[in-house]
Every structure is written in C-alpha cells, then in structure tokens.
C-alpha cells in the first residue's frame, strides 16, 4: 500500500463527461493520402504537436515556430469534423532539473485551436542537465525511478499542467529497456498513486506493457490486474520488432496477438476509456501499407464494439 502524498486528494478527471471518440489514428504527414482516402476507417486523429513545431533560439516571444503546412492540413481535418487529440512528447515531465513552462503554454495554444478533449504526454525523462548546466536531449524515454520522491515532484508537475490547460491531462506508461534496481514502488503502484493524488488520467500503452513484459519477464495480465483501470482514458496499440533479442516499441507494423488480447481485457473492464489509437511511425508506414493499416483499424473498431462501447456518430 502506497502512503498518500501530502496535499489534497483530487478526484479522477471527469471521465464520464469526456466524449467517447472510438478508434483513432496517429497523424503524420506521411499518412495524408491514407487519411483522405479512408476517412471512414477511423473516428479521430491523434497528433504529436511538438513534432510540428520547433523552437527558435533567436526569438524572444513566441519561442516556437509552427509547421504552417501541417497546421493548415490539421485545420482542414478539424473543419471536416474530425476530432483532433493532442499527445505530446516534449514535456519531459520526469526532468527534475526544470519544468518547461513555455512548452505547456504552447500546448495550451494548440489545445485552444483544436479543442482537444484531453491531452497527454509521456511519464519519462528526455531532457537532462549536462555538467555545465546546459541541456542535453537524449531523444529516448528514460525511466523515472518509481520512488516516493519522484512521485512527489512528478505530481507537482502534473498539477502545473492541469493549471496551464483546462482539460484532463493524461500520462502514458513508459517503455523501458533496462530496469532501475531497488525501486520503492512497482510501476502499477506508482501509476495508481500518481493518478489518485493528482486526478490525472492514464494513457495506457498496451504495446509498452507487452514490450516491458516480454523484455523483463513479467506477466502482462498480472500488471493489468494491479493497475486501477478506472484511470484509463485512452489506449495505445502498436507493433514492434526484435533487435538483438530485445523487443522494441518501434511502431513498425501490426499489433502482436497478445496486444489484441490485452486490449480485449482492458476494454471489458475499464469503464472510462474514450479512445483507442493505433500508432505507426511515418518511416515504417511504407512497409506496413494501407491494406494492413486498414486491417488494424478495423480490428480495433471490432474490439471497441465487442466490449460494448458506444460507436460514435459521424
């Protein structure tokens, strides 16, 4: 049992009031033709906003420069009634050294533009300080130690995000290729405590669970049993591949069968799920191909329906 942190307990996000969006597809410019040609294959688009902007070292304000071509495309999708959900990767909420308030502000601007019903980021550390006090970006989701001290500062960061953006904030469970020894909490304990204490939701990436279980030898179902699924607002599914005996969360192809089984399990038990997103990296899309991508989306929608979830009207 994890002792509560200091501070008021906050109820989970008002998930029952969030729209049930159905099956989503991770947007990339490489998928533009697929998105136009197969509008009925998905119910919403998930966008990684911070891949569509860059910061300008010479600028004072605004710091960020958006990719105007991608923005125009997303505006067009939004005007066609396609819901846009934001899922960023650049917050680096685990970085103890600093909280990136300007990133939060720009996410807020995008949220306002696209009316994303919720937004999310990763429970990981990407950016750290170097010896001279400068910043290094590892480009890799470094795990956060599942300790009470880390829980306390991550919870504080979650509250800052909640203050900055008036929509539910979700964090995605991390994929990790090496384990940090002697952690005070298990991953489900950490996630449960974080969600309970802050009211943030969980973006449950089932391919991350599958990858961690396969690489570190634990039972995915036992992991899900230990997790409070009431906090799950969104689910990610994806495929991967093996490298040197290690399974990679590479978003490179179709979902392994085990991920579909996990999806069925979670959808049947998690009552607040609002969307399931299939992820494929743009560099792998040519190999996956439109036919197989259509197959994955169709299967995800069937899983959604089989679990008795409401099919959104379009």
């Amino acid at each position: 049992m994890v002792p509560p942190l200091n501070g008021p307990r906050i109820q989970p996000p008002a998930c029952d009031r969030l729209p049930r969006l159905g099956v989503g597809l991770l947007y990339s410019e490489a998928l533009s033709a697929f998105i136009s040609d197969h509008r009925d294959a998905f119910d919403f688009l998930e966008v990684i906003p911070d891949t569509l902007w860059s910061d300008d070292p010479k600028a004072t304000a605004p710091t960020y420069r958006d990719n105007l071509f991608a923005l125009a495309q997303l505006d067009a999708y939004a005007s066609q009634g396609i819901p846009i959900v934001l899922h960023s990767t650049g917050l680096s909420i685990g970085s103890e050294a600093a909280f990136d308030a300007s990133h939060a502000e720009h996410i807020a601007a995008w949220q306002k533009r696209f009316q994303s019903p919720w937004h999310s980021d990763h429970l990981a550390t990407f950016r750290v300080q170097d010896a001279e006090g400068g910043e290094i970006d590892v480009g890799f989701p470094m795990p956060i130690p599942y300790d009470r001290a880390a829980l306390a500062y991550v919870a504080a960061r979650v509250r800052r995000m909640q203050d900055a953006i008036p929509r539910p904030f979700l964090l995605e469970n991390n994929v990790y290729y090496f384990e940090i020894p002697d952690q005070e909490l298990t991953e489900p304990e950490f996630l449960n405590a974080l969600c309970a204490e802050t009211g943030c939701g969980l973006l449950l990436d089932l391919h991350n669970v599958y990858t961690n279980a396969k690489n570190h030898g634990f039972d995915s179902l036992a992991f899900l049993e230990a997790l409070n699924l009431e906090h799950v607002v969104e689910i990610h599914i994806a495929g991967g591949h093996e490298l040197d005996g290690v399974w990679l969360d590479s978003h490179s192809g179709v979902c392994p069968e085990s991920v579909w089984e996990l999806l069925a399990q979670v959808l049947s038990r998690a009552t607040n799920v609002c969307g399931v997103v299939f992820e494929v990296f743009p560099t792998w899309y040519a190999e996956l191909g439109a036919t197989r991508l259509l197959g994955e989306l169709k299967r995800a929608r069937q899983a959604w329906v089989d679990a008795g979830k409401v099919v959104p009207c379009r």
Partner: protein
C-alpha cells in the same frame, strides 16, 4: 535524493557507450562528477552492467539519425549510407544533442558539413548548396518570421532592404533543377552543369514551397538584400538604383 545528478549520469550512459564501459570498469572515477546518493550510484553501476543498455544506446542513435533523415533527406541521399554514418559519428563526437526540436540538430549538422567542405576535409561540390537549400526550405516551412518591428519604425532614409519574410534565396554553383531532381529520384548526381544559379524559395502559399529560378540579374541584386546594407551600398554592389529597389519591394520581393 539528487535525481538531477542521477538523470544526467543515466543520460550519459545511454548516449556514450564509452561512459557505460567506464562505469562498469571503474565506477568511482566514471561517476565522480555527479552528485549521487549511494543508492543512485549502485543503480547506475547495475544499469551499466545490463546488456539491454546497448539497445537503449542504439535507439538513441536511431533518434539522432532519424532527425537528419527527416530534416535533410536530400543531403542524406547525397551522402549515402556509409558517408552519412561516418560523418554523423564525427558530428556526434563534438557533443550531445542539445535540443528536442531536431531541426536545430539538423541545422548544426548541415553547418558542420559545410565547414568540412570549406576546410577541404570533405570533397563534394554539391553538399553546400544542397544543405543550404534544405535548411532554407526547413526554415520557411517552420513558420515564417513575422515582419520585424524594426521594418515599421525605420525611416525611408534608413531602409535596409531585406528579402521578404516569405522568401529565401539559395545560390547554386550547379544547375539546381537537375541536381535536386536527381536526388529526389534517389539517384547520385553525375556531372551537373556548373554555373551560378539563383533559386528563390517562395513560402507564401500555405500548401507548399514554390521554387522559382531567377534571372541572374535579379538574383545578384537580391543576394545583397539581407537587411544589413543600405540602399546606397546595395546600389554600389549590384548597380541598382533606389527606385529599382522600391519597385522590387512593391512587387513583394523585399520587406
């Protein structure tokens, strides 16, 4: 706990294979520069011994190389796999990636390549112009700079003409159409006709960047319009009158 030190040391293990080797062999020396608790030190040594750390290192490298592939695709094609790998290794030895927004990493890599060419350490006549072309296109696609405030506050006599914020000018020493179409088709450029060519990148449409080959006479004028030179100085260098420059501004070429 001193997580900041732990996170910095962990990043180093991932980025630098040599750092993880040192941490395995001589942990005290390797970790001395970090503010760590005994538990954090034990954790880092255990991670350095974990064979899966190699995969993390490879994923880190993949992210960095992917930044170059995404941002400088034609430059990457021009270099080819083997040269890219070797040049990227040299570039990465200069320092860790500083910024999540990989365009800056790509820009730094592009400048590194140009510098190598200028110092004679990389022999490829096409690299500087292809790099400059891709960096200009990347700059345009990432949101044009809003017309600077100074442009509105300058008096007529202080006017220092600069290219419109929607435009970039790239000077080629080889026929740009042939060179770029070769690379876009994934082919190595053979002997491309040499000469001085001026290619204008027009980002005024929200859909795409338009490429406009310029007459040499116009290119020679616009190349001086960077907001640094006065009308008189440009006039002396490009043999152009103040009236001509005002006409170019009226036509949308200059801010």
């Amino acid at each position: 706990m001193s997580l900041t030190g732990f996170q910095s040391a962990l990043a180093q293990l991932i980025i630098d294979a040599d750092s993880s080797r040192r941490t395995r062999c001589e942990p005290d020396g390797a970790l001395d520069g970090y503010d760590l608790t005994a538990l954090e030190r034990r954790r880092l040594v255990a991670i350095a011994h974990d064979s899966k750390l190699r995969v993390a290192h490879r994923i880190h490298q993949f992210f960095r190389i992917n930044a170059l592939l995404q941002s400088l695709p034609l430059t990457v094609r021009l270099l080819g796999d083997r040269r890219l790998r070797s040049l990227a290794d040299g570039f990465w030895r200069l320092g860790a990636p500083r910024n999540y927004y990989y365009q800056r990493e790509a820009a730094r890599f592009g400048e590194y390549l140009i510098d190598l060419v200028e110092r004679g350490e990389l022999k490829d006549p096409y690299i500087p112009e292809v790099v400059r072309f891709e960096l200009a296109a990347m700059d345009l696609s990432r949101g044009q700079q809003v017309k600077g405030l100074e442009a509105y506050t300058e008096s007529e006599t202080d006017w220092r003409p600069r290219l419109s914020h929607n435009l970039r000018l790239v000077i080629f020493e080889h026929a740009p159409g042939d060179l770029l179409s070769c690379l876009e088709r994934g082919k190595a450029p053979g002997d491309i006709q040499a000469g001085r060519y001026y290619l204008l990148l027009d980002g005024s449409s929200p859909e795409c960047i338009r490429l406009v080959p310029l007459l040499a006479e116009l290119g020679r004028i616009l190349q001086h319009c960077e907001g640094r030179l006065s009308v008189e100085e440009i006039g002396a260098r490009a043999r152009v009158s103040a009236t001509d420059l005002q006409s170019l501004a009226a036509a949308g070429y200059l801010d």
